[in-house]
Amino acid sequence: MHELSIAIEILDIVEREAAKHGAAVVRRVNLRVGDLSGVETESLAFSFDAVKGEKDLTRDTILSILRLPVKIHCIPCDGEFKGAGHMVVCPQCEGLDTQLLQGEELEIEDIEID
């Protein structure tokens, strides 16, 4: 359950950022989570709700999670493909000479404040 550590880290970043902008309330946190990040969406959402606490600033904050599928670039095929599941194998030539374009993200895109 490292999602708890991640939720605490998110809250920490959000509080710091909110303070910087003099926010009274954080409405929403938009998070991008790649399928290769090792993070479970449900567990993270649950953890976030558990730690966001009773402070006015974050009591009603919505954690919005955008899952990003694995995307690869195959060098021999010179094309962009969706990975099969988590794999970085090219679905066209079945080769491994690929570069990962998307899938390892774990980042806060933006926050919405009042």
Binding site: M1, S37, M87
Partner: protein, 220 residues
Amino acid sequence: MSEKITLEQKVLSRNDLLAADLRRLFASEKVAIMNMVSSPGSGKTSLLEKTLGSLSQNLSIGVIEGDIQTDNDAVRIAKTGVPVHQIQTGGACHLEAEMVRKALSHFRLEELDLLIIENVGNLVCPSAFDLGEGLRVVVISTTEGDDKPLKYPAMFRSAHVMVINKIDLLPYTDFDVQKVVRNAMSLNPEIHILKTSCRTGEGLDEWSGFVMEFVQSNNE
């Protein structure tokens, strides 16, 4: 009226920054760092004991133990005569860079060639936390499923080496070595693969040689 503030910030950037600091410190002290991860029961501690047995003659080694349940592993390692410090994670499922930084006060870094971190037995949680290591080793055993890499993609993706342990038990299991190699490479085409048995000693020389090479290349 709500205001949108763009962050585009990695959630674990604080851990990443601390890990980068550690990496600089390790480089200046010329100590190589190896982070070992596995499921519980993979034989990681046995492999570590064997590694210490063969390498501690020629290298000055320290061990950080991340087992959260008990200090059994730390006691086993201490018997090899190598300095060991057990991290008290307070029940956490993984180690973080900050825990490693605190543990360093128990070692004389300038005297070490190699610091081995035995991470918590868990293939999910430790994957996201950079500890400043130069080598990440994932240990699996033939008594586990050969689909392990596909179940824990983040870990196999981030590891430099996969050690397939308990290779002597292969005839008694339906573990398919070729399949696990293919699964691991489909996530991480560059992953290096070694096979070991702590019982028969098979593959242990190659493994020790590999670690020795890592330490030597670190000092260049």
